[in-house]
Assembly symmetry: C2
Homo-oligomer: 276 residues x 2
């Protein structure tokens, strides 16, 4: 793998910081620079040697031949034109956003060497302090090429993720957004709504079930509103599908229909057994 001259990571949080650590530990770039909103995050990234140089402003990314956009999805959409002005259109670009259709349609119009990435390696934890180069190991990383995607850009980004230990899968941006609305965004929306349904003074009576079910409700609200809103139509469909399933379960309870209820729960239990 050819070494990059200058890799720039915009958003040195959990994923961006981990990617910086991966690049640095494997000496995949002569220089890694990082941009973030908060100086404390940059200081920590420098201390952890996830980046070599840091800045609160975008000017530092000038001259980069690899650009990784690791800010929340709506920040990417808001800032890519400014990034383009400084980075130029020639560098290899990817992002790690959790929704793809909107981002890809914006970025591929201006960066000819762009390919969207979504490493399924996030968690409810956030920030550089949780970063670690190993988080991509044995994870799935979805790349979302389109008819406009250059083969070389795809090959290079694919090789990077594979080197980081991820199993790369290709999906079109709309396919990605439809699938992830069910496997990731829906569970998050339910965890948030569940947490809002349990009165605070009842929480002392919760066991492992509630804790596990709502772990992801500890996720960042600003990050997740962006994910929900940039995947709006799929989210609405996913929630409606869930509402139908919950209605069936509720109806079986209401009717006291033991047979139907056992059937519904067994179906769910059987599918859950496929998950691990």
């Amino acid at each position: 793998m050819r070494r990059f001259k200058k890799a720039a990571i915009i958003g040195t949080g959990l994923i961006g910081g981990s990617f910086g650590l991966f690049l640095k530990r494997n000496k995949l770039a002569q220089e890694v620079v990082g941009v973030a909103q908060h100086q404390a995050s940059l200081d920590q990234a420098l201390k952890m040697k996830a980046i070599d140089h840091a800045s609160l402003g975008l000017d530092i990314i000038s001259g980069a031949d690899l650009l990784v956009l690791a800010t929340p999805v709506d920040t990417i959409i808001r800032s890519y034109k400014q990034i383009l002005k400084i980075a130029g259109e020639d560098c290899l670009v990817t992002d790690v956003g959790s929704t793809k259709a909107k981002i890809v349609s914006c970025l591929e119009r201006v960066f000819p060497n762009y390919i969207g990435s979504h490493p399924l390696a996030g968690s409810e934890k956030r920030g550089i302090s949780h970063a670690c180069p190993g988080i991509f190991k044995n994870s799935v990383c979805i790349l979302t090429p389109t008819s406009k995607t250059r083969k070389l850009a795809l090959a290079k980004i694919k090789a990077l993720w594979q080197r980081a230990g991820a199993r790369v899968v290709l999906l079109s941006p709309p396919e990605h957004d439809r699938i992830l609305s069910l496997t990731s965004h829906l569970p998050h929306s339910l965890a948030f709504a569940l947490m809002n349904s349990v009165p605070a003074h009842f929480l002392k009576f919760s066991s492992g079930g509630l804790k596990d079910t709502t772990r992801i409700a500890a996720s960042s609200p600003s990050l997740w509103q962006g994910i929900f809103l940039t995947n709006r139509m799929n989210m609405l469909k996913a929630i409606s599908l869930f509402e139908n399933n919950l209605r069936q379960l509720k109806s079986a309870i209401k009717k006291g229909d033991k047979k139907l209820l056992t059937h519904i729960l067994s179906q769910a239990q059987k599918r859950r057994s496929l998950l691990e």
Copy 2:
């Protein structure tokens, strides 16, 4: 603590088996006998020394001065009269069922020394093979006395759970069922409905979020249909409350209302921070 002469555990699964191990390790009974539906479960309980003697039939419980009912809730309701015939009404009795109002109203009518227990120490795992005497340590155990409960029975069962390492909390049976419908039964119903909403061929694109959120969907369907149906009215209310919260979240997504959506998610995140 006075040693029991003969402790009988009906249902030597995860909780019953763990309780047997706790009694045996602490020499709290001269003899511990176990009843289960399957010989394999009893063989394993004997092998693990969770019980001294085992039987598929109830006759073995005759003469017990401590009786722990650890079968699924609907099995307890179906079998207590038969148990009464063999055990007699004088022994100290508790159960470990996840719903209390129905069970307590049945059992306290026939066993004067009965008090309901609900150790919040279960998991999606089931069976004696996962039993361990330490599962009650630092857990909450809810006892559900009523106006009929004898003080001595309450004191003795309370002392047992405390000895097992649990923090004992007293709630009335209806209070218990209302609170647990939100902190435990609702999360289970959502996990089952969520699992039924994600097509099997999408599961390879799931990350930690879906796995955590649906861990409890691996729970036993026969156990959980009984819990849902013996806590029917509270379950219907809990699901309706959740449906309202989900509808609000969905509506904010539909309207693209970033401010409202962030508010809803922040409220949930804040409450989640109280949980651990």
